[in-house]
Each structure stands twice: as structure tokens, then as C-alpha cells.
Assembly symmetry: C2
Homo-oligomer: 314 residues x 2
């Protein structure tokens, strides 16, 4: 088995150089299968192979009003306030249950099959433990879908950041000249990040209150994927995990996005085995991120077994 | 004429020590009339005496969801997002025209009389110039009222600041654990900042989406006032301005709040002459705040004439 390593360090800024590099080095990168471990196990001692990733459409929107910050006493009530406006606009992106209200957003969504839903329902997910871990009294999301379906297989829209006016300690009676927000949509097959971006920009223009203007642009996008478990490479990966972890892996869909998976498919024509070693409570993208040392050891063993197993694929 | 100066430097943090000081020194501070200049002229070369100030109710609200920041891919769509929630909630505070939707908010408002409205309509306000100065294509506000009425004599609600999640350059796919906002309401006679605070807190609790909790507190408040022009002191001030500026002053209402005016009335039993020297484009509370040197000179002269004129009041 010949192994080629492709390393990059720009994933958190949208990997601007990765796709151009792959496109420019197709022959050099030629391979039968790709392996990526930027995903996770299902739960402690429940290894998994990820078979679905959501796409991503990450937007930044700026709402502008008057040409300068104003005194909210002298001007308030007579001039449109971009802070109020951006809240109203974001409030119109989803309904109370988180269903996205952007016209056309669900048009291309491939609905889950009865089989998909059965498989997800069969996963050993403990919703009470999920709530305890996050210290929330209720889960939340689109009506008619389970938490597993919402997390892994339904499109979503989440605010990632908002900045407007005075945010220091105490009070300042300012009517801010502008407000900005970042929000991202996770996409499922067959939604297209490019098409969704256009829908969002059009919708934001439409719902922008008079007296304000809105500018919106996409930071980066990724296309959703679903990987078939019916291949010799996937069966090889399954056996490797079973040996390395001492347990059969589950198949699961994940709400995260790994744009290069689609690039590898499009440019090199190869599938990717998504073999994650982390845990859902690793605090990814959050303070105190961790990685379990036992899983590190099991991962090393699994990688060795995987080379063995891949050697058997004809 | 004996003059007592009362100086304080805490107005922007709500003057926590001023009222206790006044209460503790009533005899020492005893006076016939107070003079405050923390207001402005109507326009360049249009001096004014302010006869109405709005009250203030400044709120800070924090919406909390899960116990930590989460990855918006892995958890988005399954957990209530405080960033989305705070936008939805603030969006429900006002309608598209800025009318406040908090139940009971307008209950105690003293409606403008026909005479009030005539007086305000007679002020030499140039709405086109107002729009040009702020570079806005339209004014905004409660339907059925003019810009002058909205600014000076109608209650308002403005977002002053919002902070949530990732606000740096670029993208971070975080589902924030909490979001906070500052907003303030300007009040008119006979609204009470204490009563309004209770209404707001109740309403926020009611509209907080499930899966989130809300905490709200008032930073500081002030009561609205309207000063009668029918007094010997006001007539003395009128003559002093006419001499100092070489022009008769207008009477106007101002959207700003000066809480001590009510304290002086309650504790010392005296009215306040609100004789402002600044201009509406001084960028109060904004970058590049200024004060016109010619008005500084006219103000010095007006202050001298005022002592002369007050000496004539029996």
C-alpha cells in the first residue's frame, strides 16, 4: 500500500489554497481512496464511520443606517436603527422551531427515506444524557424530526456572531450607525451552497427595513455529501476499526462540513473514508478542547490495521 | 444673585452618587431655580430653551442556552441558539415602524395636545437637511407623528449594543452559549421608568424561546419632564438668550434625558432652566464630538445676561 499525505492548516479560514493545489497536482495526488479523520466517534467506546457530512454556507451581513453613531435620545425614534433592523431580519430567517424561512431553502433537499430514518433511530443515542451534558432543559429544532436527524441530516441555520454598537460594561446611549452578524447554514444533499447564497442575499435585501441598507457576502461554502457503505474500501475500514477499537463501528451522519471531500471526488474521482477518533464532548471549536489519549492509542492501532485491510482490496 | 455650583462627572454611568449627595445636602443646596446646559440649540443661529426631556429606561439582557460554546455543525439545529433567540426577541420589541410592542407600554403616555403639535410644527425644522446630514434616504418612526414629534415627544426603543459569539475577522462556526444586548427606551410624561422596567422584564420572560433563559436588568432610569414656559424665571432666561445670541430663543422638547432635573424638583422643590448651547450636529456620544467656539462666546455672554435678568425676578 502506497500512502500519500496531504497536509494543510487553513481549514478554519475556508482552505483557500487547498482546491487550487489539488487541481494543479492531479497526477501527483492520484489515489484509490482518501482517508480523513476530522470527525468523531458516536460516543465513548462507540467508534463510528461517518457516511454523511453537511454542506456549509457561511454568511456575513452588515446593516447600515445613518452615516455616524448618533445619540439615541436626540435621534432615537426618528431614524432607522441598524441594531433593531438586524435583529428583525435575523428573526425572519427561522421560525420558532428553527425551520428556515428563506423562500426556496428546502426545494432541493432530498428527504430522508424510511430506511435512513430507521438506521438513525437504531443508533444508541441517549437524549437525556445529551441534555444533561449541555445543561439544557429541552432539545430544540424542526418539528417532525428527531435530534439525531436534526443534527446529522436536516439543513439548519445558526447565528455564529453579532456585533453592534456599545458592548462594553455599563451603558452608552448610542444609536449605532451599523450592525453586523455572521450566520451559517448547514446543507444536506442536494442543496447547493452557491444557490443557497443567492437565495439568502435576495431574501435579506427583500426584508431589509426602509432607512437601512444591507450588504451580505459568503465567507466560504461546502457541498453536502453522503458516502455509500457498499464498497470494498468501506468494508476494509469497518474491519480495521473493529480490530483497532475492539468494537464494530456504527455508521452515522455528521452535521459538520469537510469541503475537501467533495473536491477529492470532483477533481481526483475518489471517495473518502471518514474515520473519526474524537468524541462529541471534545469541545471542538470551544474553550478547553481535548482529545482522549486512549482514543489516540486506539486510533494508531486502527490506522495500522487499515493499511493491512486496504492491501486486501483488489 | 447668589450662585451655587454643583459639579459631577458620573452622568454617563447614571450618576450613582448625585441623588444621595443632593438628599444629604438639601439645606446647603437650597435655591430658587437651577440652570443646566446639557442640551442644545435648535439649529445653527437658532438658540433654544428646552422645555421637555424624555425619561430613560436602559436595559441589559442576556440570553443563555447550552452550558458552553458548541460546534454549529455538530449541534446546530438540535439545540436552541441564544444568538437566534436574542434576535427574535428584540425583533418582537418593536414593529416595522418602530412602535413599541411591549404590552402596556403606551398606557400612561400623555397624548400630545393640538397646541403641542402646532407649536412643534411651527419650529423651523428642515427634514431634507436632516436627511442630508445623516445621509439617509428616508426618516423612520411611529406612523402618524412628525420627525420633531418622534424625536422630542414620543416614547422610543433603540438597540444600543449587541454582543454574541465570534465577532472577529473571518468565520468561526460556533453555536454561542449566550448572547447579550443593551437597549434603551425613551419615555414621555407620565411614563414611569420603574413601571416600564417591570413590563419589559415580564415581556422578555414571556417571549424567550424554549431551550433558552433570559436575564434582564435596568442599568439606570430617568423620569420624563415638561417645563412650563409661564414663569418669571423662564421669561428672564428668554431675555438673556435674546441678548446673548441676538435672537429670540425657540422652545423645544428634546429626546435626551437628564435625570437630575427630576431629582432637583423632588428633593429641592425647584425647576430647572434648560439652556443648551451646543448644536444638533455636535456628534454627542459619537466620534469627533465638537463644540462651536462662537457658541462658546455667545454662551458666556448669555450667562452674564442671565445673572442680570434673574436679579430682576422678585
Amino acid at each position: 500500500v502506497n500512502v500519500k499525505f496531504l497536509l494543510e492548516g487553513e481549514e478554519e479560514i475556508g482552505s483557500p489554497n487547498l482546491t487550487p493545489y489539488i487541481k494543479a497536482n492531479k497526477d501527483y495526488l492520484k489515489a484509490d481512496i482518501a482517508l480523513i479523520s476530522d470527525c468523531s466517534q458516536f460516543a465513548p467506546r462507540m467508534p463510528a464511520i461517518t457516511v454523511g457530512l453537511k454542506g456549509l454556507c457561511y454568511m456575513e451581513v452588515t446593516v447600515k443606517g445613518p452615516n455616524r453613531d448618533l445619540h439615541s435620545g436626540s435621534f432615537g425614534g426618528a431614524v432607522a436603527n441598524p441594531g433593531n433592523a438586524i435583529c428583525t431580519m435575523i428573526g425572519k430567517l427561522t421560525d420558532a422551531d428553527g425551520r428556515v424561512l428563506i423562500p426556496g431553502f428546502y426545494d432541493d433537499v432530498v428527504e430522508l427515506t424510511a430506511k435512513d430514518r430507521e438506521e438513525m433511530a437504531a443508533l444508541p443515542f441517549d437524549e437525556e444524557e445529551f441534555k444533561r451534558d449541555l445543561e439544557i432543559d429541552t432539545v430544540h429544532g424542526e418539528i417532525g424530526y428527531t435530534t439525531i436527524e436534526r443534527k446529522g441530516a436536516r439543513p439548519t441555520l445558526d447565528v455564529n456572531g453579532i456585533l453592534c454598537g456599545f458592548t462594553g460594561e455599563g451603558a452608552k446611549t448610542v444609536l449605532p450607525a451599523e450592525a453586523s452578524a455572521k450566520f451559517s447554514m448547514r446543507l444536506v444533499p442536494n442543496q447547493s451552497s452557491e444557490k443557497i447564497t443567492r437565495m439568502v442575499v435576495d431574501y435579506l435585501q427583500k426584508i431589509c427595513p426602509k432607512g437601512c441598507t444591507v450588504e451580505a457576502h459568503e465567507h466560504h461554502g461546502a457541498e453536502p455529501i453522503v458516502v455509500s457503505t457498499d464498497s470494498d474500501y468501506m468494508r476494509a475500514a469497518h474491519r480495521a476499526v473493529a480490530k483497532g477499537f475492539g468494537k464494530e463501528p456504527l455508521y452515522m451522519r455528521e452535521g459538520g462540513s469537510i469541503p475537501v471531500v467533495m473536491t477529492l471526488k470532483d477533481e481526483l474521482g475518489i471517495d473518502t473514508i471518514l474515520l473519526g477518533l474524537g468524541l462529541p464532548d471534545d469541545n471542538t471549536h470551544s474553550p478547553n478542547e481535548k482529545f482522549n489519549l486512549d482514543d489516540f492509542q486506539r486510533g494508531i492501532r486502527t490506522a495500522a490495521y487499515l493499511l493491512d485491510e486496504l492491501a486486501t482490496v483488489k
